[in-house]
């Protein structure tokens, strides 16, 4: 067959000419392949990954994914299958029309109505002989959508507000034939949606020749949350209370429309707490718009438990809890926050979070590297190292991995593209992986961007001074010192051309000077206070660590099509993070406090309010944490009510999460007073203090019981092989409940004679005192009256008091209150 390809092509060409001559009462060029046909292929879903956009095509027909490569699609549509796919002599006989209209069987179902404008576009293009666009044909420059954001309040169903109807919409620019039926407008009566929840989206394409075209009927609409329906022409009908982002796509451009469907709550009265700082102002402003009342502020016991788990990874001891609850000092929460931020466990807890992301694990870094790098991180947090400096030192880390701890960052990332993906994901909040093989379907990044950015890291190389690995087959294993250095000759090649692309910072037009040290340049560019994205990523990550959810969420997925749930809030905490001095910080607070007048009376006076941090430098982690933790928003209860029960994204209540592996294990150890055992570490090392992942390969040959390690793994401690928060799991599994119900560790801890239960039973304490201490220790509260009655009776009547106390403790350790952070 291949041998004949040349004559066939000639024959096809003649046919093509013939088609051109016979069909087309119109000049062929008027249906644009790139601007019309490609739009139809997208609109009809032909080029989705599940259909012909699949990397292997479908049914022998392959299009580029989401139409990213019009040239390739043109070739496929015009030069394959001997003209059966597109037949200009008999356009209606073309498979391109017959299959999607289901005139003949099509696995993908019916995609086109014969009387639809899309069908007509394809038919006319085929009839015209499948012309390609002239080189000077106009190309798409911008896609603009209106509105970009809208809060749609439900209206009482009886009244149909005319304003919400798809009003005098710009008529879709007529296609050349003039034969197109007018774009179908959705019939609002046909939808079950509340009339207040309807919105026409208008998409306008701006072309290189300055022309503007309404492409609302040609664009593709995709929803982040399936709570609305979007008609063919962009008419949105909300179906449920909530927020959704509609991604509008036309050709190679995308834009986002953020819509909120606000319930009809005519009796809504704002009942939120008095704002404590600018964060509350911004959060509450949005909640008011959504007619959502936040939960009330939580009680002291819940607060100390929450803030200690969030900042230190540890629950309060019974004494800490009781003392705090009894304390009558009005500013005790602020005082507690300040004292927790200076505890050594804070630095350890934050070092652990970063160690997850920086891939601090033994196989590649070796035990010494793991311990050095981890200790360096811990010290950085303990010593208030500003976050920009921390990141600068990490991304510019070179030298001996034993002498320069942050050089281990690149020791862990062995190839240029692992490095570029990691730095992008961690510090720029972008997931570039998609654009390695094809242009990113939901973001602006192209393959060119990917390989230009990758080559920034192309010169990093290693001098392996020693490698005492145990398995000579294992090229991932390193045990011994290495020097990370810049190799003059190092490059990262683009596999499409087998040539390196000129190195460029991501999204930055300037090409790097070949002579310059790319890593120092990278560090400067990346961490500049003016680098908005970098600052936002850090601020958002910090927010997410204590709030349980990012303002942009997931926190490493910033893109136009995944907008922040509260842009002003993200902006404000970002500004706060980099504000140069005290005055500037106050200005940030004051500006935002002024937004909402009714609450302005409560604006704290920065000079007297101990909640704000005096002094403080830009990129100070504690300063940002302090303002977040002192907000009423952070301190809201997790209890929900009718108006905020469905809210996940607007911080109207505290989010409940399963406690992490380390939080659970360290708390169980603290409750039962049994130190944990990890191989190679002294007894009493807490799980949150472990520098690496595995403790079973200690060089000294020592072996722990191993069940503590297994517990951590089971509850989602990550293996640290990905530069992503997503690697840590907070899901609940059957294996976990088995471990908690009948697992070896929990049983061993409960039954060990000299644990807290043994101490309590041997003391002179009354049963009531014993139970009180047990409750305060596990749940940071005393037993309720019901609980006292039941457990006192249970303990009092027990033949085996020890067993009964074990059973009660088991019940406490397996309770939602213990397992969940709220």
């Amino acid at each position: 067959m291949h041998a004949f390809s040349s004559p066939i092509r000639t024959w096809r060409f003649l046919l093509w000419i013939g088609g051109l001559a016979m069909a087309a009462p119109l000049p062929a060029a008027e249906v644009s392949f790139r601007n019309d046909v490609m739009a139809v292929l997208s609109k009809s879903g032909c080029n989705l990954g599940t259909c012909h956009g699949n990397a292997r095509g479908k049914g022998g027909f392959q299009l580029s994914l989401r139409g990213q490569d019009p040239a390739a699609d043109f070739a496929v549509l015009t030069h394959e299958l001997f003209g059966r796919r597109t037949n200009p002599n008999h356009p209606e006989q073309s498979l391109l029309l017959r299959k999607p209209s289901m005139e003949i069987a099509h696995e993908g179902g019916k995609r086109l109505d014969i009387d639809s404008p899309e069908y007509q576009v394809l038919r006319e293009w085929i009839a015209a002989g499948m012309p390609n666009d002239r080189p000077d044909a106009r190309t798409l420059k911008h896609l603009r959508v209106t509105p970009e954001e809208a809060f749609l309040a439900a209206s009482p169903a009886a009244k149909l507000p005319a304003a919400k109807l798809p009003a005098a919409k710009l008529p879709a620019e007529k296609l050349p034939s003039g034969k197109l039926p007018p774009a179908k407008l959705a019939d609002p009566a046909a939808t079950t949606s509340n009339p207040g929840w309807q919105q026409q989206i208008t998409a306008r394409a701006e072309f290189s020749d300055g022309s503007v075209r309404d492409v609302s009927a040609l664009a593709v609409y995709e929803l982040s949350q399936p709570i609305a329906e979007v008609s063919h022409d962009g008419f949105v009908s909300g179906q449920a209370v909530g927020e959704t982002t509609i991604i509008v796509r036309y050709l190679n451009q995308q834009a986002a429309v953020r819509l909120a469907f606000v319930p009809d709550r005519p009796d809504f009265i704002w009942k939120g707490p008095t704002p404590a700082n600018f964060i509350d102002e911004l959060v509450f402003t949005k909640l008011k718009t959504l007619k959502i009342n936040p939960s009330p502020v939580c009680d002291d016991a819940t607060f100390i438990r929450r803030v200690m788990l969030d900042l230190l990874g540890l629950p309060p001891t019974a004494a800490e809890g009781e003392q705090f609850v009894a304390d009558s000092f009005p500013n005790k929460r602020s005082v507690l926050i300040d004292s927790l931020l200076e505890r050594p466990e804070f630095a350890e807890w934050w070092a652990m979070k970063w160690a997850d992301l920086l891939r601090i694990e033994e196989k590649t870094l070796d035990r010494k590297g793991v311990e050095n790098f981890h200790a360096w991180l811990r010290d950085a947090f303990a010593n208030h190292k500003p976050l920009d400096q921390l990141v600068r030192e990490i991304v510019a880390g070179q030298g001996s991995t034993y002498e320069v701890p942050p050089a281990n960052f690149y020791r862990a990332l062995r190839t240029p593209f692992e490095r570029s993906e990691a730095v992008g994901q961690l510090f720029l909040g972008v997931r570039l992986q998609c654009s390695k093989c094809h242009n990113h379907p939901f973001d602006r990044w192209t393959q060119d961007d990917y390989y230009s950015w990758g080559n920034v890291f192309g010169r990093i190389d290693y001098k392996i001074l020693e490698n005492r690995r145990r398995d000579s087959n294992d090229k991932h294993e390193f045990d011994g010192e290495q020097i990370v250095f810049l190799n003059e000759l190092g490059v990262a090649k683009d596999p499409r051309t087998n040539q390196p692309r000129s190195p460029q910072f991501l999204g930055h037009a300037t090409i790097l000077q070949p002579r310059r040290d790319p890593l120092n340049g990278l560090a400067e560019w990346l961490t500049a206070a003016q680098h908005e994205r970098f600052v936002q990523v850090l601020a958002n990550r910090t927010w997410q660590q204590v709030m349980g959810r990012g303002i942009v969420d997931p926190i490493d997925d910033f893109r136009a099509t995944n907008p922040p749930s509260n842009p002003e809030l993200l902006q404000a905490i970002s500004q706060y993070l980099v504000a140069q001095d005290r005055v500037a910080q106050d200005r940030v607070e004051a500006e935002h406090a002024a937004i909402d007048q009714p609450a302005a009376t409560a604006t704290p006076d920065p000079k007297t309010n101990p909640k704000t941090n005096p002094g403080g430098k830009p990129f100070d982690l504690r300063r940002l944490l302090r303002v977040i933790l002192n907000s009423q928003t952070y301190q809201l209860s997790a209890d929900f009510h009718e108006s905020n029960q469905d809210d996940e994204a607007n911080f109207s209540r505290s989010l409940v999460q399963r406690r992490s592996a380390e939080q659970l294990l360290d708390a169980i150890s603290q409750v039962l007073e049994i130190p944990l055992e990890f191989a190679g570490y002294p007894a009493g090392r807490r799980a949150a203090q472990l520098p690496g992942v595995t403790t079973t390969r200690g060089r000294d040959g020592s072996k722990g019981n191993g069940d503590a390690d297994q517990f951590l793994k089971l509850f989602g401690k990550p293996p640290r092989l990905q530069s992503c928060d997503c690697e840590r799991s907070d899901e609940t599994t059957l294996g976990q409940t088995f471990q908690l119900v009948s697992g070896s560790l929990i049983n061993r801890f409960l039954t060990k004679k000299e644990n807290r239960l043994g101490t309590l039973l041997a003391s002179n304490k009354t049963d009531r005192e014993i139970l009180s201490e047990l409750y305060w220790t596990t749940l940071t509260r005393p037993p309720t009256a019901d609980e006292y009655t039941a457990t006192l009776r249970f303990l009092g009547q027990a033949v085996d008091r020890r067993a009964a106390l074990e059973d009660i403790t088991w019940g406490l350790l397996n309770s939602n209150e213990f397992l969940l952070r709220r």
């Binding site: 992986q433 992503c724 690697e727 409940t737 406490l812």
Partner: protein, 457 residues
């Protein structure tokens, strides 16, 4: 008070806590129903995946080439089988009697030459990024088949969807592809590493700690519920999703007999146990039958925990290293073990009426070199090898694809490994094109292969 009352409850009643009827209704299951899945009615309800770690020689098992030159052809002869026209190695006489029940695919091929990457490919149906001898397991790699089934079409009868035993595969490092990876730990297999051939074989997960009987467990549960009642809203929070359901399920499995019974090999007649052979692998095959009988949907049985090949233990990796020789080891170990278990399993499933609804897959990570090496043994050969499919939805007494005269390359109807896996998913009613989402939320099809409809009955 409930706590005291529970003391009055007879033990028999206490055992009913956490009734099995609740088990199908975990929240994750309700949630997954909302995701886009394409579950057709499969021809097979369950799969027994008999994984032959190390890589069996196709020329010395199911694709003999008696006419090939010395140095290529097997030292063994061939025998005719119950399927007219199908010949296999004469060391598998009992297996020959069930060849009328199975399909052989003699042209499976891929390009991974090392055990871990090839095994990962065989266990997940997705090619690894590199043919890396110590391919590192991470959540960027694909989940095991059973985990995909648990995600898309979980068992709803109180039994686990996916059970794997009696080993963890390892070649230097743990072989990737044995767990749920990016689908989340909730879809990991119930992994059993105790030896089914051990007299005291029991699931540690299904045993209560010593000193804790069902009565105490009931007390504990009551206390837990009492505490949970104090903050009732917590149970409804997103963070608590599934927690209570998992407690129900755990307690149900600890106290009810259904799951425990399925694992109780003592309940089998001695004759049946003997027929499977008193070996770890033999009893594992028997356990697999018991599990599918009780409603487990995917069972991975691992032939060995390591690639083996030097002694009469481990897997099929018979290079002849260290002055060992392949043929004596095959004759004394792998082939007799196979000939005892494989036909026994097929016949047992048939006798119990389970064969029609159970898909058996017998495969390793690759075949072995057509040319005997200097050790009169064979090395790795992914370019062409044989996989056996039998049971639910598969043709009987059938060979798909022909290898060349040496058994070196596919001659007719080559089958990519992806295609084979797509076929398996299709047979159990999961459209291989169904999209999964990885940790970065990228859509990835269950399998990129094309279904080999030629082997379907």
């Amino acid at each position: 008070m409930p706590l005291i009352d529970s003391r009055m409850i007879p033990r028999r009643k206490a055992i009913q806590i956490g009734g099995m009827g609740m088990l199908g209704l975990t929240l994750p299951r309700l949630l997954q129903a909302a995701e886009s899945t394409d579950i057709k009615r499969g021809r097979a309800k369950s799969v027994i995946f008999l994984y032959q770690f190390g890589g069996p020689s196709h020329l010395d098992t199911f694709d003999p080439k008696p006419l090939a030159a010395a140095g290529v052809r097997s030292h063994y002869g061939v025998i005719s089988t119950s399927a007219p026209g199908i010949e296999i190695c004469d060391q598998l006489p009992k297996t020959a009697l069930v060849m009328n029940e199975v399909s052989l695919i003699r042209t499976v091929h891929h390009t991974m030459k090392n055990h871990n990457p090839a095994a990962y490919y065989a266990l997940t149906g997705h090619a690894p990024p590199l043919d890396d001898i110590r391919l590192r397991d991470s959540q960027e790699l694909f989940p095991a088949y059973g985990s995909v089934v648990d995600k898309l079409a979980p068992a709803t009868n109180g039994m686990p969807t996916f059970v794997a035993f009696p080993h963890v595969l390892r070649d230097g490092e743990i072989t990737p592809g044995q767990h749920a990876s990016f689908l989340g730990k909730g879809h990991d297999p119930l992994l059993v590493t105790s030896d089914p051939n051990d007299r005291r074989f029991a699931l540690p997960e299904l045993s209560l700690p010593s000193g804790v009987d069902a009565g105490r467990l009931q007390d504990r549960r009551e206390i837990q519920k009492l505490v949970n009642r104090q903050v009732q809203q917590l149970e409804q929070s997103v963070g608590a999703r599934g927690l209570e359901a998992y407690y129900e399920k755990t307690l149900g499995m600890l106290t009810s007999s259904k799951v425990r019974d399925a694992f109780n090999l003592e309940a089998e007649p001695q004759a049946v146990r003997d027929r499977y052979g008193r070996t770890t692998y033999g009893q594992s095959c028997l356990l697999a039958r018991r599990l599918v009988e009780s409603g487990v949907k995917f069972v991975n049985v691992y032939f060995a925990n390591n690639i083996g090949g030097r002694r009469n233990e481990g897997g099929w990796d018979t290079h002849g290293f260290d002055n060992t020789r392949m043929y004596p080891i095959l004759s004394e170990y792998q082939l007799p073990l196979t000939d005892q278990t494989l036909p026994t399993l097929i016949n047992d499933l048939k006798e119990r009426g389970l064969f029609e609804e159970t898909l058996i897959v017998w495969m390793g990570e690759f075949g072995r070199t057509p040319r005997l090496n200097d050790n009169i043994s064979r090395d790795h050969w992914p370019q062409c090898y044989t996989v056996m499919l039998a049971g639910g939805g598969v043709k009987r007494g059938f060979v798909y694809g022909t290898s060349d005269k040496q058994g070196a390359y596919p001659d007719k109807d080559p089958v990519q490994l992806d295609d084979l896996i797509a076929t398996i998913f299709d047979l159990i009613g999961i459209d291989p094109q169904t999209e999964l989402r990885d940790k970065l939320n990228r859509p990835i099809p269950v399998s990129a292969g094309r279904v080999v409809s030629g082997v379907m009955a």
